[in-house]
Subunit: 512 residues, 2 copies
């Protein structure tokens, strides 16, 4: 086993990804042509992607990645793509008052896109201020990020785990994705097919609502723009008021699609193969649905009985209004639990208990093998089973009781690794909260503890909105640049499930 | 192995403890005589303790405890003692407007005392409202609780771990307490000797300050009252303004004594035996001191540069005042980190970042083998080493790297058990936060998320004060009774390190 890291191979492969990035960059270019906007921005970005990609590709002609090079490739690629993705914001921002003209803001917005976080630093989201091309590019970055995550979850991370690294064991207890089809590339293609299929279905349903009069605001542009950010649990919207800008019918339709986006995509493949019964026998899916249902019911009751008293404009009054309470509750819970980050209500104005319920939902995360972020349901499931066993072990010290998931025994190494991930996630989240709070204190920017907590959680969990100034209709613009850089880092490592980035920070990765 | 739980043996032993409780009850009786207050309250309580103790003792004549009976004994005893300890509050409260006349409040205050939590539900702490005897009894409950914890940590929990239960492994990586002397009872006596010695030393130093004019308010009564609640990391004070009622000299002296209270008492025994060098070679002690120093330095800087702008009355202005910034910072950090809970400043008024630093200090906890509550330093140490190893393992999947503490390898079972505890603690804390928030919402009592978080953390961690209405100069009185009962439960299980109580809630403890 050679130990030196062949970083050239990783960078060369990153170069290939950058070159391929020029293809989807044609989409906003086409949008610019359709809306008769300037085409300079995206033409130049395409050129930049091709040149940068080509230059990196020159570094090595090898394409076989070993474990360490694969980790480096994953980490560097997400960063490089975010940098290239920031170029249009910078070019389009030149000479305007757009906050995205600032490099840190541009990178923040781009990283937030490609990591499907959905946190924004735009001062004003409007067609007066920004072109259709830029606003659609922002949506598209999330859809591309979602495709990247599927490859990452299906092809790369399990591959590293198969090498014994056990980086991410999230797949292991669920359906064995890599066993769906003999070859991993084939699996990725199948799941992309599911992903693209649901995106198209969503566009069709939204457009149907529009043409039948149930969704006056949901134009074709809006339908595509939102389909681009629903399936990847992204949350960006070209509307400043997110999904509150649309009719209740649209809001109700968005809920099942957010649920789909947070579900293990392999399960849909089973359904397509006629093995749909596997869906409800899957322990993660059952817990996921139960969690959404329980949180929603709880919150709906609270809203109905007045947990959102000052709510008037966005979302409307829920107290005593059954349908609205249910819809606001189910929408916000699904959105935050799956890490999508859309909103139909300014939950910043809800009372303390209502906010707490949302905060807890934010800790759950999507399912393994989905585009959802956060700790993920299967990890909570294993962690809670571990805790139950610890109580049992206190009474029966000599008993050996394996942890089971859906009838199969979870390997103790996997259990340990899941505990390690969950712990690491909580630790980085808490540590980052402190850093963000201290950084704000340094420049005298007033930040409540809840704001600091949610800023850290919403970025590492790739959720998007938080509480206070960073609420669903607010922005991260007011944070100092240093805090924004910390959050760019959080979005990045959160999306890559921590370890592929964290190992790069250790000496033993590079030296031994 | 017989499996049925012989609960009669446990209860009989609890009866013996209740009988012994009548001895310290003579102290407030004596105080009542000295201050010419009514002696009815404590005479009746002594009678009650003797009768209840005697009745329970009748249940069984056996004294040998097996593992399950020991767990039951520990859990029941703390509850029974708290109930008897609440009797004086109830009797003295009859016919007065004291909030302690309400049974739930009385039990809350008593449980808060015996678990050395220091959270109060008294509406007014003053000699006009309460007798010296009652106010000293409140202090004494904490000192007795501290003695109980020492026995628990030294004699009972390690004994259960020796049976293989590995209930609490906190001792294991530190100095092996049970090996200090051949017999456990002897060890407990030695540590009681250290505990009583420091209590006396503290009274002497405080009284010296008083007689030399450095502490005008620190009368003999106050010196004893505060010595009773410093060494057990208790935090109760007969002064409504806690330690803010005393001179800076008193505040500076309290800091090292709080640090001592949070230190593994076995280390002092080493010092007495002339092996003082072991103190600074002890990894937990080093981390503990480093944590206090780092947090204090950080906060002192923040206070100096204005993190407590609205601070005027209590604690005084810190901005630009070096000594005051240092003192306020070191005092509050030491108090909250060790879970003592005294205050010299109304930190509820500090800015968001200042409060967050305090909140994080509250998560640390004291050392193993101390009277401090919380997760405890050694558990964090092992948990962080585990995380570091997880990163290492991601790169070196096949390498076997044991976790070391002070040169010795920590058994993997112990590591697992520590992770289990830390996780369980965080889980119960978060779950209880939600329960408290929902309960408040139910009755329309307005509670911020930070208030709910701190209420849960301050009670399960046996810390005492939190943020908002339950700040250091506030009280828990406004919570609904149902929430208070939840918090009584939290104080109880937090003090007993969760598992001895949690196992009682499982069917497998009673049945198999
Ligand atoms: K998101
Ligand atoms: K305390």
């Amino acid at each position: 086993m050679r130990v030196r890291v062949e970083w050239r191979i990783s960078l060369a492969l990153t170069g290939t990804v950058l070159k391929y990035l020029s293809i989807p960059l044609l989409v906003p270019l086409a949008v610019a042509l359709i809306y008769r906007e300037e085409i300079f921005t995206f033409s130049l970005t395409i050129l930049f992607a091709l040149i940068a990609g080509h230059a990196l590709e020159k570094l090595s002609s090898e394409t076989e990645l070993r474990m360490r090079e694969a980790m480096l490739f994953v980490a560097i690629t997400w960063l490089a793509v975010a940098i290239v993705g920031a170029v249009p914001y910078l070019i389009a921002g030149v000479g305007t008052e757009s906050s995205l003209a600032h490099p840190v803001n541009a990178l923040f917005e781009s990283m937030s896109g490609f990591t499907t976080t959905g946190a924004t630093v735009m001062d004003e989201i409007s067609y007066e201020r920004h072109s259709h091309a830029i606003l659609l590019w922002r949506q598209l970055t999330q859809w591309l990020g979602g495709m990247g995550i599927i490859v990452l979850m299906v092809a790369i991370l399990p591959e590293l785990a198969m090498n014994g690294a056990q980086l991410v064991q999230s797949e292991a207890p669920g359906p064995q994705l890599q066993k769906l089809t003999p070859r991993i590339a084939e699996t990725a293609r199948i799941l992309w097919f599911v992903y693209i299929g649901f995106t198209l279905l969503y566009v069709i349903i939204l457009s149907t609502l529009h043409f039948t009069g149930y969704a006056p605001e949901m134009t074709a542009f809006n339908a595509i723009a939102h389909a681009f950010t629903t399936l990847p649990t992204g949350g960006f919207s070209p509307e400043a008021n997110s999904i509150a800008a649309f009719s209740p019918a649209v809001q109700w339709v968005a809920i099942p699609f957010m649920i789909i986006a947070g579900t293990n995509f392999a399960l849909f493949w089973y359904i397509l193969r006629g093995e749909g019964n596997l869906l409800f026998r899957n322990p993660e899916f059952r817990t996921y649905i139960t969690a959404i249902g329980t949180f929603s019911a709880l919150l709906a009751g609270m809203l109905y009985f007045g947990a959102a008293p000052s709510l008037s404009e966005l979302g409307g009054t829920t107290a005593g209004a059954m349908e609205n309470s249910l819809r606001q509750s189910a929408f916000q819970i699904t959105s935050l639990l799956t890490s999508t980050g859309y909103a139909t209500s300014d939950f910043v104005a809800w009372d303390g208990s209502g906010k707490l319920v949302l905060l807890f939902a934010m800790f759950v995360g999507g399912s393994a093998g989905s585009t959802g972020g956060g700790i993920k349901v299967v990890r909570w499931l294993v962690s809670l089973k571990f805790l139950r066993r610890e109580i049992f072990a206190a009474v029966h010290p000599d008993a050996i009781r394996p942890i089971r998931l859906g009838g199969t025994v979870v390997d103790e190494e996997v259990v340990r690794s899941i505990l390690g991930f969950t712990f690491m996630y909580l630790f980085v989240f808490v540590f980052a909260t402190l850093v963000i709070a201290l950084d704000a204190s340094r420049i005298g920017y007033s930040l409540t503890p809840l704001e600091a907590f949610s800023a850290s959680l919403a970025t590492i969990g790739n959720i998007g909105p938080g509480f206070g100034s960073i609420g669903p209709f607010g922005s991260y613009l007011a944070f100092p640049d240093s805090s924004k850089i910390v959050m760019i880092f959080l979005m990045w490592i959160g999306r890559l499930e921590l370890f592929p980035v964290l190992v790069l920070l250790t000496r033993s990765y590079w030296r031994s």
